[in-house]
Assembly symmetry: C2
Homo-oligomer: 758 residues x 2
């Protein structure tokens, strides 16, 4: 494996501050720390978040990911002048995030207003080995003359979520010359957060602490000679508990001890330890591509890096937020994005993590059952937006219309029910990929039954057939429709699988079995029309279409809503993303290539791609249909949602699902990995730009390394496995090479064709 | 009257931002708005406060003056570059606060990074006529070439008190093209605040509103030609209620209507209306001095300006905070400073305002009675720190000791009881100056009796004499002492006066009269020693003295506490301010000049003047003792507490008491105005630097204009009054001129000497 590449911020620009703070977020699934600069800028939004730490601040507000006290900020004064890149002159600049180890680094030379030059180097990382640890280092060197250097830093609890304060300051303390600690409690009294920070400035002539107005700071002054490197080493240990059974003192002391040990280890040793962990992680996950465009490899490394740092695999009571831990967008809530866009990466690389994400839903069944019951249904209706408790977190009303003063009910929480089947879909995929009987007979079966029961109760009998009314599919530009194809097919699949597993595991509830059979017999699933088009819902095809060119050119910006009201958009063939295309992606075995292609061709011109979930899926379906050029175009555009040049594309956090889709596009699109009837299929269609694609894959206990180029497909498997390669069923172990026509070429492994038929 | 002068900010400096934001605060007693710049700076603390609007944000916090959503901030982009004085080049700069009308103005020419120059002029004022109105105007002129100007501004509710958020965002709305409104509710649900804002940018080609993350903003874009003046007019109406009986809608609509009317009037008409009010205000208050140092006049205009804008004379449920409405220092709480340092100015220029301040205490008697009762005493023990309710607001514990983690009980609230007598002292002075029988027979009498009853219950009988134990005098470096001279004399005075008025008004509570007589007979008041020194308390004279030179050189910075613990300081002759000097100032009739002088000479070397209340009083007593040179030196030093060059002298607000003391020093010091046995005395001692001092004075219904120079004292009185001039009792009306030896010189008025004896 070559080393994962880096992301560089090409130039310092105040308008890009928050974009790069999101893109270069460091973290480890336990915590995420936005890559703000050490020095302050008026437009800079600092952020440090713990996965699963939500709180509601004030009336009319909603539960949101808590922005913690800041430990990244450092005020640097150079001969009394406050260091800031908006003043003085930047003589050189380099900033990068190293995806291989999650270290963000900056090196610059700054010329103060009096002409004196300073080299300022900084680096920081969140440990992959010690989850609560954030370590940072700044080195300041006066280049031209002796200088007086002031360094003030500590724990700044004036931080809010855009003015919403979640934390009371419970205790602030300092110990000795280098240690300080702030303990904070969410205002509902349910969570304690202890931040222990070690600060050392070598050669500090003066050092003192202040604690005032929620800021606990250490102030250092150094008289530095020209050329002398003055180093600030700062390490913070961020502990959180919602079940403290120790005294605050005793509990808080642990983080102090931990950070003291870290301080003894030192930055480089801690980094090395974390790097080792990262190296092992990349070994079993990295996707390597040889492309005419080197940014393709960067996009993949970017995606995988973020897929790691956004995922709280240490804690099955947390799941992945829509912006990961990179910002406050969507309040840090969890959507269906997790199961459909993010879980597959984990499933195919570290199934335990996928299991943890599914157990998050399983733990939260009580809230989902409650939501179903409150709405008159049975089974489990998962919340559209989920936080820690599993209760519905979607605000009842959308943001106020500032013109009318009225608030609209949020439709998604009322009707976007496909999420229920998406969770079941993920359970089934987990089973196929792992054969984890323990999980399946317990959590998996429960999830399948509860979701199936929801659908059975949700359907209504109309003229002898069951229909599902008043839903919203993934396409949120079409609301409150009947028999949405995506929903009905996924519901049918959900119940069918639940019934199948119920029988398999001898589940003896005759009522369920009877009702499930009845549901499967009677549920109406929209039929593919003679022209191959599957109607999105009962009324869609009767609606007028308009030319969307201008809106598609600004995909993602929702400019259609500047010209039409939501009600008007609802009455036209205008899609935010295409449900039927998504459906053919989700259930590939149920649709012929011809149907996939017909629907791609029909729906794409009607789709603005205003959802960040849209293009990637179109790209995968296009690739599966053999159109790698279109697939590549969509994949590239999808990868630019955050990485593109728009300066405010991800100010409030990266798009987690779009990040997951970069991996999906490469693996499920161009490598053609998909699961049909529980079996693994591989049908690569490399885009013209790609000469080679290589990636690891976990499947039923075996670790595969798959390498694809124009001429051949090379598969190495640690165990004997069976899979389909370009429509040929083969069993193999060790290394096997297939020509692109599917012929097995001689290698050291063992392989046999099984003559199966798809 | 010549026009009050201006305060200028000589140069833009990031380190001075908050000092000048405090010094140049605009307001009208109803609200105070810190003079932050329109554009943002990382170190800049914005602030807008309403007198009396306090709230407690979170556990462990205390009631504090609420920092309201900001309306001053404006983001200006010039050809896409964010305007900020920390970047680009400032080619010219002028900033001033015009004390004559409370308008703050800035004019500058700024050169953007591409060399293009822009003139940026701004001005704003809080209306003296319409209290809830803040009006502002910015004019931007591209000087060299056509330019694209972006202006974004509105109502920003991300503002906090250093991270403490008090307000929920209840409603945000926009109306038409120019109006927006935010309604906010304190988190305890007790107060609604409605901010209605009108914004107009002339020639805006594009204009839109956004409401996101507690920011309601109007965004404007103007394509301006070189030389074109682009004007933003912005007016805000800030309403507050804690007793809303209308619906939020109806109540909120009022502020909208009001701001619409203001917008129709326009900035200049509103300013003219406010100026007229200011002009009349200055007419009856301005102190004019001819000095060799022109900054003396500036200090006086500065003081009077702030004495107006800090005083909530519209609302007798509010009083004057220790930092006025200029910042968050002392949490906006009200101390004894108000009665002793601030009330006299109002009493001698607009007695109605003094009455309102006394009624504030009268309204809050229930809390004061409760505090006395809870501590086992009778009568009224006013809270050491007071807010709106009149309950004790002093935090039970001081800020945590970050070294030990321990919190100390705040001693002031436990023992600094002289405040009770200070309130009574102010009542008595109000009576002398006004003869307001209505007030005196009701509120005044009640206040005198309740305060007297407190002292009677507070004293303890020791060996046949009453003593007052375990108190803190004004000198907070000497805690928990017995028979503090200041406290015992003031308590005696309090009870004596209460008894006198009780008899005079036929108050028939025999128990009180008996107990008061007993108290007056038996209360021990420390005696003046043979050397003229009055012991500060029972133990003070036995404590060792040390050389305080180094600490006195840094008066106000409390550097003694870096070398000694509070406990150590307590055991030495070290004074923060001198109680006995203060006492001779408060009760001049009780001490001979010799005693005053002896104590000034004894205590001054033992006083660091670490309290901002200290120097001015020393100066007055020195002047009264005839030492105008020392008096002037102290007065100057006192006036520099905020106006001096220290860049952070008043970041969190100006020192209100020190501001009041600038007036006190001139009038009670150099003009020698004082009240003895209820009679007005005038005994001027102009400092050598002053050639002339002229000021108006209200006394018992008459308006006096007093002009003093080296040769003569000129008094004009609208009514017949009696006063003492340099020890001669005279009655006069119209204009009377006295030679400095006291001889009456011929004028148009009438005057007779009465041959009294002091």
């Amino acid at each position: 494996m070559t080393k994962p590449v880096k992301l560089t911020e090409p130039v310092f620009c105040p308008h890009n501050l928050n974009k790069y703070a999101s893109l270069m977020t460091i973290g480890n699934g336990y915590m995420g720390i936005r890559a703000s600069h050490e020095e302050a800028y008026t437009l800079q939004t600092r952020g440090m978040y713990l996965a699963g730490l939500y709180h509601r601040a004030g009336k009319g507000e909603i539960n949101e990911l808590v922005n913690l006290p800041d430990v990244v900020g450092v005020e640097i004064t150079l001969n009394g002048e406050i260091f800031s890149l908006t003043s003085g002159v930047i003589e050189s600049w380099h900033r990068e995030l190293d995806f291989s180890c999650g270290e963000v680094r900056r090196e610059l030379i700054w010329c103060a207003s009096d002409g004196a030059r300073f080299a300022i180097e900084s680096r920081r990382f969140a440990s992959a080995q010690k989850l609560p640890l954030l370590a940072m280092e700044i080195v300041i060197t006066p280049l031209d003359a002796d200088a007086c250097i002031g360094i003030s830093t500590g724990i700044d609890a004036t931080i809010t979520n855009h003015g919403r304060q979640h934390l009371d300051e419970t205790q602030v303390r300092v110990f000795g010359q280098h240690l300080m600690q702030g303990i904070y409690t969410t205002q509902d009294n349910r969570n304690d957060i202890a931040i222990a920070t070690y600060c050392d400035v070598d050669g500090a002539a003066q050092r003192c602490f202040t604690a005032k107005e929620r800021r606990l700071l250490q102030h250092n002054t150094v008289q530095a000679q020209a050329g002398q490197r003055v180093t600030l080493t700062k390490m913070s240990w961020v502990d959180w508990t919602s079940e403290r059974n120790l005294s605050l003192e005793t509990w808080g002391r642990q983080s102090l001890r931990n950070i003291e040990e870290c301080a003894q280890q030192g930055y480089d040793a801690l980094l090395a330890e974390s790097n080792t962990n990262w190296h092992a992680w990349w070994q079993s996950r990295r996707v390597q591509v040889t492309s005419t465009d080197i940014s393709d490899q960067q996009a993949l490394d970017y995606a995988l890096y973020h897929l790691r740092v956004m995922t709280p695999d240490h804690d099955e009571r947390s799941s992945i937020a829509a912006k990961g831990l990179t910002g406050e967008g969507y309040k840090g809530h969890i959507f269906w994005d997790t199961e459909v866009f993010l879980l597959p990466f984990h499933l195919f690389t570290e199934p335990k993590t996928a299991r943890s994400l599914l157990r998050y839903r399983w733990h939260n069944l009580p809230g989902a059952r409650e939501k179903a019951r409150r709405n008159g249904w049975q089974g489990a209706l998962f919340p559209w937006e989920s936080a820690r408790s599993g209760d519905e977190e979607t605000p009842e009303f959308a943001a106020i219309n500032i013109r009318t003063g009225l608030r609209q009910k949020v439709a998604s929480a009322q009707a976007e029910h496909h999420l229920v089947a998406d969770v079941a879909w993920a359970v089934i995929h987990y089973w196929h990929a792992t054969g984890d009987l323990n999980f399946m007979t317990c959590e998996g079966m429960t999830l399948l039954l509860e979701t199936a029961k929801f659908w059975i109760s949700r359907a209504v009998m109309i003229n002898g057939r069951l229909e599902i009314h008043d839903v919203i599919g993934p396409d949120e530009y079409t609301e409150h429709v009947n028999n949405n194809a995506f929903t009905n097919y996924m519901a049918w699949y959900n119940v069918e699988q639940a019934l199948g597993f119920a029988r398999r595991f001898g589940y003896s509830d005759e009522t369920f079995i009877y009702r499930a059979e009845h549901f499967l017999q009677h549920l109406w699933r929209p039929e593919v029309q003679p022209d191959g088009v599957l109607p999105q819902d009962d009324t869609f095809l009767r609606k007028p279409a308009i030319d969307l060119t201008q809106y598609k050119a600004l995909a993602g910006k929702q400019t259609i809503l500047l010209d039409y009201s939501r009600a008007e958009v609802n009455e036209m063939q205008i899609l935010k993303q295409a449900d039927v295309v998504m459906l053919t992606y989700m259930l590939p075995e149920q649709f012929s290539l011809q149907t996939c292609l017909a629907n791609l061709r029909f729906y794409e011109p009607r789709t603005i791609h205003d959802s960040s979930l849209s293009k990637a899926i179109h790209g995968i379906v296009a690739a599966r249909c053999g159109d790698s050029a279109q697939g590549y175009r969509f994949w590239r555009e999808g990868s630019l949602i955050d990485l593109g040049e728009a300066p405010h594309s991800c100010d409030d956090g990266i798009h987690a699902a779009a990040t997951g889709a970069i991996w999906l596009g490469a693996i499920q699109g161009f490598a053609g990995v998909n699961v049909r009837y529980g079996e693994l299929h591989l049908a690569p269609v490399l885009p013209a730009h790609w000469q080679r694609l290589s990636f690891p894959l976990r499947w039923q206990g075996s670790t595969l390394q798959i390498t694809i180029n124009d001429a051949e497909i090379r598969i190495h498997s640690t165990e004997q496995i069976t899979l389909w390669v370009n429509g040929e069923k083969v069993s193999l172990q060790g290394e096997t090479v297939f020509s692109n026509s599917g012929i097995i070429l001689p290698t050291h492994g063992t392989a046999t064709t099984e003559g199966g038929d798809e």
